[in-house]
């Protein structure tokens, strides 16, 4: 699985951004995305239709500290 990520990262980075592996440590960081992908697999179903990025600023104001 981790090796598949190494190849996938190489293809995606080149195809979409024109960026190649810069050095010998690149493969290790690419393989590390396998754990990130597992994390996203565990979050499946949590995002709902109405969720969108600006809700963060709204939430900051909504739950902010109130003067006593």
């Amino acid at each position: 699985m981790a090796r598949e990520f190494e190849h996938a990262v190489e293809e995606q980075a080149k195809l979409w951004s024109g960026v190649g592996p810069p050095n010998s440590a690149s493969g290790e960081f690419a393989r590390g995305l396998a754990e990130v992908a597992k994390g996203f697999e565990r979050t499946r179903g949590e995002l709902v239709f109405e969720d969108e990025p600006s809700s963060f600023e709204a939430a900051l104001r909504e739950i902010k500290e109130r003067a006593p």
């Binding site: 960026v19 050095n23 690419a30 990130v36 565990r42 979050t43 995002l47």
Partner: protein
Amino acid sequence: MTSSAARSSALTHLTLVQASDAVRKGEVTSLSLTEAALDAFVAADRTINASITLDREEALEAAEGLDRLRKAGRLLGVLHGVPLAHKDMYYRSGKLCTCGSKIRGSFRPTYTATAIRRLEDAGSVTVGTLNMAEFAQNPTGHNAHFGDCHNPWHIDYCTGGSSSGSGAAVAARLIYGALGSDTGGSIRLPATMCGITGIKGTQTRVSRFGAMPLSFSADNVGPLARTARDCARLLSVIAGYDPNDPTSSTEPVPDYEAALDGDIRGLVIGVPTNFFVDGVDPEVQEAFDTAMKVLEGRGAKTLRLELPHMDAVNTYASVLSRVEGATVHAQWMREQPQDYSIHLGARLYAGYAIPAVHYLEALSRRGPILRAFGKDVFDKCHIFATPTIRMKVPTRAATDIDAGAPGAAEAFSAISANTRAINYLGLPSVSVPCGIDCDGLPIGFQIQGRPFSEAKILKVADAHQRDTGWHELLPQMVGDTGPSPQ
């Protein structure tokens, strides 16, 4: 030690607030403080490598001007005459700003960061710029271009990053305070590892205009200093809306220092039972537990509770800055990848393959998860506290990816696990020293509150410092550590 050296040492050992008050009362001059700071940098930099540039002549000239103003009965602000130095990523018009990199080795911006301008408008003297992780992107303080910054408690150990020079310079008593930046812990990690205090405000609390961009979702500008009171003073100057940064908040800035009265009776402190304590080192846990007892001794209550959505927070937090960082570095990654250090080039590279749908999921879930924290955490407790890092301070050798240290990439991620989760949530967070480990390196804990509760978390940090002396201990390279603070 000569009498002159002893006097300089006495000056640099003042806290920022003490130094500021001494100038205001006419007990010391800005010139003497600034000369002492510059001399301290020259003497210590061979060992700890904390600075990148020192502007001696300009700083002394500015200090003399501030002394003339004071003699004429005019004070610019609450930092009148106080020398400061900042992470080398804050733009000052016409001044070299390397961002800790080879790529920006000759970059001279044409405008000045709002945070720097506000500090100087309040009377501070900028003496130079400080070492940092390349483009603010590692948690250890390694720098392949300017040399690693060394921890003044033991030079073989990490300073923490990315604000490595800010942490080391304040801890070594070279400067009274410094700006750092915090995208995944870059203020709180060096504050913890160097035994000082550092705060990142609520996301949007401080203008980022003129600060080197890394991750627009999670970048924060904030101070590192010896004490919570010092940080309160610096934050009071830099916080607040800035029309040059439309993302900065219009929330009023309270008087942070006025809140520091030591009275935390009845305050309920949440102590997480999940995520933040996973695999925590026993020495770190013991120091954290003792810190909670100190706060209970002042009348606070602790409440153990499980924090919601932490698995998702950890996942989402791991992609925001990677994707946004990869985006802003794309052209240099195509054209001159050889000019990045090994670890940074490799880290950025992986960011180009994270799917946009996952990046947007991380952004879109931020609001709902923060609301869940409001209900499930802050409706039950006023603040929550955790160890800032779960492990003891690691050595530079053990975390040196560029040298091929085994397991170093995993260590990078582990160091910032507790801090970057807070950046994802956008909460204010202050790191406070609370112990010394068996290797002689500092331990710290971090305090979080509701959005815009900086006054409250600083109040708790100050309360802890009223009853302990961890923030007063001197690194061995500076002097004797003295008796145990508790």
